[in-house]
């Protein structure tokens, strides 16, 4: 009797082992990824990101709006400052960000070299640095987000050349010397011009991205140059100034004007016909990308060193 009982017990034990093994198998097989679902989904405390603009021109206002939109979307506390084109003020604002202990700074430098030291201090304080539109001469920058200004300059140059029939005299109004935007746009424009042997750049003057300066500088050029077929300015402000000067001089209809940035005034000018074309940057997109990439970086993702933002030719 004992033997029989024990053989039943043994049988049951073996059966149990088999069942456990089978169940174990099917559990491991049927519950995939239970362990690798991401745990801490959202950080409870919102990230704080400082957005430092060089001035409050429409371009940067739009950029800031895009950044704000992304910040709202990503639950980021965005602190916005503009420096009014004052290097010292921008440095103060950087210090303010350091003092506040923000997680990241998204900056468009007033001057690429002048803020480098402060930016490095901020990076040393553990703040992630992102540059937008204009670069900073430092290797602490996580990523530089900007339009491909060289491509934009070339695009503008090609359009201007085509419009004036690939021959004639053109003028280039340059932005603030030392800014990457001015350098790259000028380089792209000149690359394009070099392919048109019948086009001569009769004048190349700095107008510091400023409408009044553009007007003043171009008025002088008008006075100097009897024949001008086209003008390319490194930004819309300067081209609008140039248009104003040409209108004053009564030569606006003889000249093809090509700007850069597609700000609202420029778009209005396109629609009135005084401006022929402009290169549309995506300031809002730059702001968004600045904030989005800062958040991604802070969440541990790898961000490329350079993020190019597409440009588009906007015509009349």
């Amino acid at each position: 009797m004992f033997g029989k009982k024990s053989s039943i017990v043994l049988g049951f034990i073996l059966l149990l082992i088999v069942l456990v093994a089978l169940v174990g198998c099917s559990i491991t097989a049927s519950n995939p990824g239970e362990s690798d679902t991401p745990s801490g989904a959202e950080t409870a405390v919102p990230l704080r990101i400082g957005l430092l603009a060089p001035e409050n021109s429409p371009f940067f206002v739009t950029l800031q709006e895009g950044a704000q939109e992304a910040a709202n979307r990503l639950n980021v506390n965005l602190i916005v400052r503009d420096a009014g084109n004052d290097i010292a003020k921008q440095n103060e604002q950087i210090q303010e960000m350091i003092d506040m202990g923000v997680n990241a700074i998204v900056i468009t430098a007033v001057d690429s070299t002048a803020v480098a030291e402060k930016i490095e201090a901020a990076a040393a304080a553990g703040i992630a640095i992102f540059t937008v539109d204009r670069s900073v001469d430092s290797n602490v920058v996580v990523s530089h987000i900007a339009s491909d200004n060289t491509a934009g300059g070339k695009m503008a140059g090609d359009y201007l050349a085509e419009t004036i029939g690939k021959q004639g005299s053109v003028v280039e109004l340059e932005g603030i010397a030392g800014t990457s935007a001015a350098q790259d746009r000028g380089a792209g424009f000149n690359q394009a011009m070099a392919t048109y042997p019948n086009i001569t750049i009769v004048a190349k003057e700095v107008a510091n991205f400023n409408r009044e300066e553009g007007q003043t500088v171009f008025a002088q050029i008008l006075a100097d140059q009897p024949t001008i077929n086209g003008v390319f300015a490194h930004n819309d402000e300067m081209i609008l100034g140039a248009i104003a000067a040409a209108e004053e001089a009564g030569r606006a209809n003889d000249i093809i004007f090509v700007g850069f940035d597609a700000v609202d005034d420029a778009v209005a000018a396109l629609e009135t016909g005084s401006l022929t074309a402009t290169i549309a940057q995506q300031p809002a997109e730059m702001g968004r990308l600045g904030v989005e990439n800062a958040v991604k970086y802070l969440q541990g993702e790898t961000i490329p060193d350079n993020i190019a933002v597409d440009l588009a030719l906007i015509t009349r």
Partner: protein, 501 residues
Amino acid sequence: MIRNLSLGQRIGLGFLLIGLLVLLASGLGLALTGSVTRTITATQSGLQQFDDLAHLERTWADVAAVVDRMLLTRQTGGAIEDELQTAVTEFEQQLTALGAQPVTNEQNATTIETLQLLGQQLTDLVNEITAVSRQGSWSRAQVIRHTEMSSLQRRFEESLAVYRTSIQSSVDTAVTESAQAQNFLRLIWTGTVVLAVVVGTVAGWWVMRSITVPVNALIAQTRRVTERDFREITPLTYQDEIGELSRAFVEMTNLLRESYSELEQRVADRTRALLTSTQVSRQLTTILDQNKLIQEVVTQINAAFDYYHTHIYLFDADKVNLVMVAGTGEAGQQMLAQGHKIQQGKGLVGRAADQAAPVLVSDVSQAQDWLPNPLLPETKSETAVPILIGEEVLGVLDVQHNVLNGLQQADVDLLQSIANQVAIALRNARLYQELDAQARRATLINDINQKILSTTDMETAMKVAIREIGQLTGAAQTSIRLQTAGGTNGRLAAEVEGSHE
């Protein structure tokens, strides 16, 4: 533990083990099939989702293409706006379809929400572009197209990429898990096979040993018994059938031993009985005195076979009563003194005499015509054997035993053979007595003749004859009467008075 199992249970256990291994293997196969099925399902679902996303992306591209064409050709209203509306509608339908699919995880749900939000923004933006275009603000429309709409497109594509990655990762996970499951199952399967071989071999050897060892032990015990070695056998201590067989074998051997020794005892008894019978016969032939003979017979039988009591009855002259003539022990003496006798046909003795056949009562309490004898209170079994000469019954040899079933047919047969010899001896004795008497008479007659012949005259001769005959016969008066021829009354020629004294 296995030692305690019966052979049947051991074999059953073997089958159970095989069954379990088969179950395990087939279960693993099923699990593997399940894993493969899941992988296929996940892959198919992933492919379907990829397809859906590609379709969604294409409809977005369609919308962008129509917008671009509108901006390039500077046309509003009518056909182009219808076309745009169609593209937007299809895009929205795609988006709705995507949202309607079952969502596998939270991340995908978020991504789909984002895509839907972006889709809504695209619709708004397309409407704005259309509105701006209608107003002739083509430049503004272009700006919107190249800034806001591009941004939307970028974010849309990013979300799509996230979604695709998630799908890909689900598929990859399923494939990886399937591969892992296969590896695991391969391992288990190999393990099962190895286990089956190892355990099977060991268990098989063990079970074989567990059977052959006791069987060999049992065979050795059997051999011993076949060689008539009936010494005590220790039963094997197994709990199984072999143990049972061994115990049965031990019992059988014990029985065999008992019956063997009983047989030997019986042979010895029989030999002794035959010896006794021979002895009795030999002695009987030498005894011619009937009474002495009878007494000797009962004494020897009783002593030789250790019976409780033996006695012999002989018929009286009238053949009516069977009179006890010899008996053993004090009871025998007393009965002799009392002149114990039994009427013909009464009791076992009477019946035996009546039927001229032996009567055996192994248990006297069961026999109705058994006559209890107060002098023999311990009698448990009794046999009465007739003493026969041909058809004539001379008497009965009666033997009693104080052991139940103490008397058997073998005793009866033996006693019958002794009784037959007793009968012969009795007849011999009687014949001898008769011959002896005749011889004596002849001698006397011869003597008388001699004496008569020695006389010289008639008178003397007659006197001698009368005297001698008177002496011989013991008659009180002896006389000779002479009868003359023709005379009616004999004249006493001579009368001799004689006496025996």
